[in-house]
């Protein structure tokens, strides 16, 4: 427990009108600095990234030319986790005292366009209609429901929970609660996933301020401690997005490795987790990731979801701010949005979407192309 979060800032996610991704990134930094009660000139290490919003370090022209080392990170959906890991290492090594971590992004409407060349795939894969990430999520949950004998209705239940939580979160993009019936009646897009079971690429910005744990209470009485951060890439036999073939010798997802690493590093058991934000690119991903992170056994999701355990007033609230389903997915900002939410929940300041039971441990998890995952464990 050597690094703490003393500031967190997040601006509303969604589709930017009348503002820009750069302006929102700067605003998120100022919110995080204000939350920590320090100035930009107090930051001696900055790190962050964005897939489509520009270079994070170029924002110094608006934040102030302090000469701070500012590292750009681009690591897909794990951009936020990787930036956080870099800042934690800088503080632990003594190279930095107060670090800023920033994630922001802005994507065009509609499904992500995949560059087959950049992903190491043949051109044919794109021209024949197979370079669509939503297909992977559909194929993975289709197989998962079959293997673990789970009812497809869980997908609607997960999505309804996301939109309920989003309706209580002033920063969420989708703020209208939807019933399971509303979701069941939305258009089927990639069987078994319907329109409201898939998140949309969108816009967002989030920033955090970190310092050494032993100095944290100088800044605020309620610091949140980073107990472990881990990023992992895939190992043989895992089932990953944009895979023209899979091994017949199955292996597990990088999520399993990243989650196991944070629990081991922190000396915390999955059963101690009081709430979690897990990657819900689609409703099926939340179901799968509950088990892959170790929060439940494979097949146990039916009981967990049906019993209400994953709701805000349950024993294991999941995606308490509405997740990607209600917030959209700005790649660079999404992982840090999860951390921001866990910080608010551990402080007890999440407002209308505060969980009912006082949490002590919060997990966050991201997963993305081409098969990487990042997990973070926070405690009060």
């Amino acid at each position: 427990m050597s690094v703490a979060i003393i500031g967190a800032g997040c601006t509303p996610f969604g589709r930017y009108h009348g503002t820009t991704v750069r302006a929102e990134a700067v605003r998120a930094v100022r919110l995080a600095l204000g939350d920590a009660g320090i100035a930009w000139s107090d930051i001696d290490y900055a790190v962050g990234g964005s897939l489509s919003g520009g270079s994070a370090d170029s924002l110094v022209s608006e934040l102030g030319l302090t000469g701070v080392p500012f590292i750009n990170v681009l690591n897909g959906c794990a951009t936020g986790s990787s930036s956080l890991l870099s800042a934690v290492h800088a503080i632990e090594s003594g190279a930095a005292r107060r670090a800023l971590v920033l994630g922001f992004d802005s994507h065009p409407r509609g499904a992500f366009t995949i560059s087959t060349g950049q992903m190491g795939l043949g051109r044919w894969y794109g021209t024949t209609g197979m370079a669509v990430t939503a297909q992977f999520f559909a194929l993975k949950i289709q197989r998962y429901l079959h293997e673990h004998d789970l009812p497809p209705r869980l997908l609607s239940a997960v999505a309804a929970k996301a939109f309920h939580n989003g309706s209580l979160n002033p920063n969420a993009w989708r703020r209208k609660a939807l019933t399971a019936a509303d979701i069941e009646n939305s258009a089927m897009l990639v069987d078994p996933l319907r329109q409201f079971m898939l998140c949309s690429p969108g816009d967002g910005a989030t920033a955090l301020v970190l310092c050494a744990a032993e100095t944290a209470k100088r800044y605020r009485p309620d610091p949140v401690y980073i107990r472990a951060v881990a990023v992992r890439t895939r190992r043989p036999g895992s089932f990953e997005v944009l895979s023209p073939s899979l091994s017949i010798r199955p292996g597990h997802s990088p999520t399993v490795d990243a989650a196991a690493a944070v629990f081991e590093q922190a000396g915390i058991a999955p059963a101690e987790v009081g709430l979690a934000q897990v990657q819900d690119t689609d409703a099926g991903a939340e179901i799968i990731h509950l088990a892959e992170t170790g929060l439940c056994a494979h097949g146990e999701q039916t009981e967990l979801i049906d019993s209400g355990a994953t709701a805000l007033d349950g024993r294991l609230p999941i995606n308490t701010d509405g997740g990607c389903l209600a917030n959209g997915e700005p790649i660079g900002a999404s992982g840090l949005r999860q951390i921001h939410e866990n910080v608010l929940q551990l402080r007890g300041t999440a407002g209308a979407h505060q969980v009912a039971r006082d949490p002590g441990v919060a997990l966050s998890h991201v997963y993305g192309a081409p098969g990487l995952s990042g997990c973070t464990l926070l405690t009060r």
């Binding site: 509609g110 499904a111 992500f112 366009t113 995949i114 560059s115 087959t116 043949g122 051109r123 044919w124 794109g126 021209t127 024949t128 209609g129 197979m130 370079a131 669509v132 297909q135 559909a138 194929l139 993975k140 289709q142 197989r143 079959h146 258009a187 089927m188 897009l189 990639v190 069987d191 078994p192 996933l193 043989p236 036999g237 895979s243 023209p244 073939s245 899979l246 091994s247 017949i248 010798r249």
Partner: protein, 141 residues
């Protein structure tokens, strides 16, 4: 037949379409399409061999919205939904493939499938042959 959409994907052997797999000489893992190195162990001694043209459906979906175009060749106006899945070729590899069937009532995991030629439009406005799997009615899995 038309030109293949990518000549590295498949061969016609004895008049039958066969996918070209890559077997790693070091660890015996088979991958598709043939790459320069083994995705399991990184070994670079890869032997090309024809893959089985029969298998079982491992997972499936139906693509019901137009994929971003480009890279997808048909425009949104020309789009029609299509089936897509993974087919397990027993003892070899699980291959991602277009399916000739897009009716969910006629697709289920574990059903027997066989390899067929499938015509697709190309960026130059012609057609090319790619591969697809089709339900193999009457064949016990």
């Amino acid at each position: 037949m038309d030109n293949p959409v990518d000549p590295t994907l498949m061969d016609l052997a004895d008049g039958r379409l066969r996918l070209r797999g890559g077997r790693c000489a070091a660890c015996d893992e088979i991958h598709f399409p043939v790459g320069t190195a083994c995705p399991r162990c990184g070994g670079d001694d890869i032997r090309v061999e024809p893959l089985a043209d029969e298998g079982v459906l491992w997972s499936w979906t139906v693509q019901r919205f137009p994929p971003p175009s480009p890279p997808y060749v048909p425009s949104a106006a020309e789009f029609t939904p299509f089936g897509l899945g993974y087919v397990e070729l027993p003892g070899q590899v699980i291959v991602e493939s277009l399916l000739t069937e897009c009716d969910p009532a006629r697709l289920h995991i574990g059903m027997p499938m066989r390899l067929v030629e499938f015509s697709v439009p190309t960026e130059s406005g012609e057609t090319a042959v790619t591969f697809a799997f089709t339900p193999w009615e009457g064949h016990a899995s």
